[in-house]
Amino acid sequence: MRAIAVGRFVLFALFALLVLVTPTHVSAEPSPAFVVIVNPQNPYLALDRSFVADAFLKKVTRWPNGDVIKPVDLPPRSRTRARFSEQVLKRSIAAVKSYWNQMIFSGRDVPPPELSTEEEVVKYVLTHAGAVGYVSGDARLGDAKIVTIR
């Protein structure tokens, strides 16, 4: 009998300890600075960072399955674009602008379209099969699919 009482006390003490060390409310995971999104028909779930960088600089123009890649950008003053640019393209927005000036005025290529808002980016991705874009982590995505960047 005494052993059972001791056992109950230990269980109670462990439960009390668990209650004490557990935060009174569980905070949600912070939203990521940006997420890369594709059309829901796009079969890929994860992409190499270098592939995404090449796609946004138009060094590659086709998905591995042969579909045309249609990258879409946010405006230069967007903080989401700044983070995407530094983390994925490894360049500041100004450096990317210089790159595109070189391409534009030497006749090599033209930059991806720049849309004004994240809602427009999501809409573009949903209406273009090969599209790839990025938006902030708390943006409304509709049916757009998030891909993991490796």
């Binding site: 270098s50 090449d54 060094k59 590659v60 123009t61 086709r62 045309v68 405006p75 230069p76 530094e86 490894k90 360049r91 500041s92 100004a94 450096a95 602008k97 210089s98 790159y99 000036n101 070189q102 534009i104 005025f105 030497s106 006749g107 090599r108 290529d109 033209v110 720049e114």
Partner: protein, 391 residues
């Protein structure tokens, strides 16, 4: 003079119109009945140059505004693989250009795959890191790219060729990416816009061919690329000289440059080393004996973007027009340059630049009252102000 003014006014209104029409992005013209649009981009880039000691690029000792470019281009993606475009360009660089408009480039570009595409038309020549973008002020920090390898005087000679280019890029999983460009064609040179004094008795000038390649390796180290470029060309000229009669001359050139660049986040480091080998032959060896000369050209450059609006940079550039004769002021030119670039916004920038020059190899007697290079000032300075608006 009024014709020159009207050309400036026409160009300015065209490009400024584009800037006003769409300040935030390229001015797109929708193609009716399709999703496609003609993308329109342009720039206006006026500048001022003043030098001490010698005239350079223009009559610059007294200060000159003849240091300006303007351009506008139109590009349309016709299909997923086919694109076409044209750029109209005009400049005023001392005695050259005088705002005469010309088709700077025009092409049809068919990209079969990322590893193989074809461009045909008048296309920029890839030579070194920056030759094909050397007249795009907004795309770099310095006003003058290192003149040892990217001489402004030779812009019409080395910037574009009319012919075909094959290009492509292959990325591997562990060795980075390899980009190649192969080209061949000819160059159309307008003698009238090349210099103040056309060579005496010149009756004909043509390039039978120009051909070359650029191979660039994007290494697995993020931002580091290295490569090499080769170019071969031939220039034939005909003269009708007083008391001598017709004389033909042929210049064959072989140019190569090794390049390395590290560009990551806001830092840029670049270095290039080049040799240009020229052989001259003529039908009259008494007037122009056969000769061979090798130029040596090199630079190192660095820039760092401090913040959104301030981007300083510096370089050292050296030129020896004859590697077998490096003594004397006319046989060399050392150039130490510093630039401050201020980006007012995403479409407008201002640059201030200073150069300390030692040697006169990059100068011309034409701009210096016919004084030979070995009698011009050994040490001299260049100060430049340039502002560029682009969309």
């Amino acid at each position: 003079m009024s014709s020159r003014r009207s050309r400036i006014a026409a160009w300015s209104s065209l490009v400024i119109g584009g800037l006003l029409a769409s300040p935030a992005r390229a001015a797109d013209i929708e193609v009716p009945g399709t999703e496609r649009a003609v993308e329109v981009h342009g720039f206006v880039s006026p500048g001022f140059i003043v030098t001490t000691g010698n005239n350079y690029l223009a009559k610059s000792k007294r200060g000159s505004f003849e240091f300006s470019e303007v351009g506008i281009n139109f590009t349309v993606q016709l299909t997923d693989r086919l694109r076409t475009g044209v750029q109209l360009f005009a400049r005023d660089l001392g005695p050259q250009g005088n705002y005469s408009p010309k088709a700077d480039w025009y092409y049809l570009d068919y990209r079969f795959e990322d590893w193989f595409g074809i461009r045909a038309g008048r296309v920029k020549i890839p030579f070194g890191l920056y030759n094909d973008t050397s007249d795009i002020d907004a795309a770099r920090v310095p006003v003058l790219l290192p003149q040892s390898i990217y001489p402004l005087y030779n812009r019409d000679l080395l910037l574009a060729q009319t012919g075909v280019e094959l290009y492509g890029r292959v990325r591997t999983r562990s060795l980075g990416a390899l980009e190649y460009r192969l080209y061949g064609g000819t160059i159309f040179l307008d003698v009238a816009t090349q210099s103040t004094v056309p060579p005496q008795g010149l009756t004909n000038l043509e390039f039978p061919f120009v051909a070359g390649e650029r191979l660039m390796w994007e290494t697995p180290i993020e931002g580091l690329r290295a490569g090499g470029s080769l170019q071969a060309l031939r220039l034939d000229a005909s003269f009708d000289l007083p008391n001598i009669g017709p004389v033909g001359a042929s210049l064959q050139g072989a140019l190569w440059v090794g390049s390395i660049e590290y560009a990551l986040h806001d830092l840029l480091l670049a270095a290039e080393y080049s040799r240009w080998i020229f052989r001259l032959d003529s039908s009259n060896h008494a007037i122009a004996p056969p000769s061979r000369v090798i130029h040596e050209r090199a630079y190192v450059m660095a820039s760092y973007r401090i913040n959104d609006w301030f981007h300083p940079g510096a370089y050292y550039s050296v030129l020896y027009p004859d590697v077998e004769n490096r003594s004397g002021r006319a046989a060399q030119q050392h150039d130490v340059a510093g630039t401050l670039r201020f980006d007012i916004n995403h479409h407008w920038l201002v640059k201030l630049e200073g150069h300390f020059m030692s040697g006169t190899a990059g100068l011309t007697p034409d701009l210096n009252d016919g004084v030979p290079l070995d009698r011009l000032e050994r040490n001299w300075g260049v100060f430049l102000v340039k502002t560029t608006a682009h969309f």
